[in-house]
Symmetry: D4
Subunit: 149 residues, 8 copies
């Protein structure tokens, strides 16, 4: 997520930030050897980029889009938004949202300009013995993958 986060620092131009976000997303996928799915949505929730990872579970494709949508909707990482459900559990019933770690908001001058989502899994399934290799979200992703931590 670091590369994506820098998009904010470097730009004050929305269009250029969005491009950098797409590039950062593509780079993150490349670094993972294409084994993660990534998505970018604009401020209005329209999907700008959706890319399916090699060998990842089919659920990752649509969930990355929804994580990105959720992050840009409230301008916060989706892992932080998950905690809001303790107080307002019906937030997650809003169409288009998914309250699961792996989404991040990209900002320019403090305003949200895009959302990013990532998810992916090696083909070895759920193994709760190796938490280092997997996210707490239950969607198994590799260490260093473009999630929101």
């Amino acid at each position: 997520m670091a590369a994506v986060a820098k998009a904010d620092a470097k730009n004050d131009n929305t269009m250029r930030s969005t491009h950098l976000t797409i590039e950062a997303a593509a780079d993150a996928a490349e670094k993972e050897n294409q084994q993660i799915s990534v998505a970018v949505v604009d401020r209005n929730g329209n999907t700008i980029l959706a890319m399916r990872g090699d060998g990842v579970g089919p659920q990752s494709f649509e969930s990355t889009v929804k994580k990105a949508y959720t992050a840009v909707s409230w301008n916060a990482p989706s892992s932080r938004l998950v905690k809001c459900l303790a107080n307002v559990p019906t937030l997650k019933d809003i169409p288009g949202t998914l309250f699961l770690g792996g989404g991040a908001s990209v900002t320019a001058n403090s305003a949200p300009i895009a959302g990013f989502g990532g998810a992916g899994a090696p083909s070895t399934g759920l193994d709760e013995k190796s938490p280092g290799r997997r996210r707490r979200s239950g969607e198994v992703v590799r260490r260093g993958s473009p999630t929101d931590r």
Copy 2:
């Protein structure tokens, strides 16, 4: 919500009340400098007005329609209906509904004639330190916005 609520007092004619509701909704949006989304549905749940706020999160548009639908369905503010979920949690599985603060019912002679929904957020995201500026619902709205309190 005050302006909307008055529609009830002034009218005994459904059609006229609906018009006043639309006007009250538009006025509320105007007063917020268009930074909230608003919706009005009729007694049968048909959308009469849906207006997207400037710079609000994309989730606000569809959620206002659903809040309005929920309020008119049971003729009660959606914030009150949220409390019913403690006893009947599956009420929220009824299609078209959203149990989240921000919906209100408009009545003429005690009968529901329309539903109203509002939602919106400045681009600063979730900030639980400033509860005064945001609703408990988790959908961040400005003080005085046309929600159901």
Copy 3:
């Protein structure tokens, strides 16, 4: 529901039982002065009858169909099925179902042949002070209406 339940006792012929179910549903609606919504589905979940009540909330129309579908799926009243969620909460994620009181299964020779659903509300909204007139389900229906008790 008594009239509907009798369909079982009187028939051993599926088609005739379904007709009697439709008639019982129509009669129940008639008795309530058309102020409830009713639905009948066949054993395979196909809607056979759907009728919207006068002045009821819009949510009642689709929810009656889903209650009927749920009842015939497990051959049990939906109010009893609600209790199963305590042990298996994800049952309610099965598409087409709604776990809310008001659905009943109709049987011939102990096998389910149809599902029935009812819902409705006078225009006075939620009033928790008069539990006698309303069902615990939160969908407000009149005493004696064709629900599953």
Copy 4:
């Protein structure tokens, strides 16, 4: 499920394993006298086979597909995945999934190559007195039916 599980041991070829899975699914349905619904999805979640059981509830058809999808998504039996919801309850909001016992993943060389789902019920409805004949999932299936135990 034993027959299905063996597909893994016998093959290292994806296509052949998928065929064996379909055959095992068909055999399982046959053994149950066609009174269960079964489904097979490929690694990418596409439905390869969907077969509706005789006399089963209508909800079983679509739920078998979703169970198979869920199992292949995380390469684990759906009954095990249900337990993950205790920690990550929003996993079940991912589109296409259903966290309910009855789904299994089929693997070749440890990698998931297909998902399998089964569900079905005799027409006698829910009877909590005979747990031996029914799965804890709440979807009533016969002893020995192709679920994931």
Copy 5:
């Protein structure tokens, strides 16, 4: 259709006309020995009644609703609206519509208050040799059935 058409002449009250329309629809289905599907929608296109005929093709259920919707949308029989497609072929791309004979508009004081749709077929399929018993629309209905002629 005659019985339905009379609803207009007898009433000047919308609610009562709608009730008469439902009754006329039910009577028409009864006269056909339940072998037709019928539907009634209100002025805003909301389904008020949908009833599936015995032994009719499955396509008839949804198509009656759409015929009724189409008729009330333009306040004209759907068979007449079909002819409009010669000049404006894309009219039929409007969601919810179906330009096929069998829909009728019900009016009170010349204004549309409801739409009606009917369709049905004996199980003998298409037989173009007996045009007297079937409508030109290709949806086979019996002579005298509640279509729009």
Copy 6:
């Protein structure tokens, strides 16, 4: 449409043009005594405003949104785009579009910034004898209504 078209001449600022478009749409509806439905979408096809006219057919609500979407997609009035179907008839199969008169594109510095759609009908139905009062599109609208001519 004249009022809407002027939005282009007066502005070079996207946000302001969109606001003017909304106002022009609301004014047009007002002038027609609320008897037309109107919609505004932004450059990316997101609905900004949708308003249902009094007494218009139910089909008008969704069709205005689609007309606006179509106009902004190709930056041309929908009536002109209808003519393109003679050469490329499958253009109309693109999701979200509706090739029917009544849509217009709003531009700032020649670039499309919003789409507008309008439709509506008095309750008198189709009357091809009075073409002056109705559009050739088959969606009956009043002279001077905010269509695209």
Copy 7:
């Protein structure tokens, strides 16, 4: 199709006929080395069997279901129904239908009891020079495949 057609001659029992249809469909797929997709729907249009062929285009899966639905709806082979469009072109706008060769109706005592659909293609694409190996329908299938001729 011959094997499927015989189901009619041999049976007068609906359930048994449906089973034979499924078996005939599975046999047909087997004979084609699994390189076709097949589907069976019951009289009410519910999918009983859907099986995706190896290496066939993805469009074949859903289209077989719709062909089967179309055939059972009017109790006629879909290739014959295609010809009806010359007189009633809007028949094809009925939801769930697909007017394309490859669907057949299965009857018992002249009444339709099930629909069958088949489609498939070798990976060589459209080659109009070898009509013998492909159907005129444009969905390329092998000689002898279970279509409706």
Copy 8:
């Protein structure tokens, strides 16, 4: 399209070809200064990549996915498939397809392994006077853009 087409010549490995297709798609978009939308689907029609162009009409995003799906379904360029509609006009009613120029099939050893779709338009709208800069398909794309010629 040239770069994409070469993927076939260089590879005999499906996975690698798909990667090259994605890269070729990204390169094509890059060359056009991101002013086109592009999409890649796999042999089973699953979306692998979807990327929205800068400033293109909103309809381009979903239509590129459908063009790619159509091309891989019949292993032919979508512009060639358009011609098939003259003989089999209902082919275009198959769900997921779009018969419009701009889709191409990618093959390895003559078998289809992926589909590609492209669409895009400068913000100047339809201008039939400059056919050299635009495709006959009506979706305006730049000379040299990754369509199927």
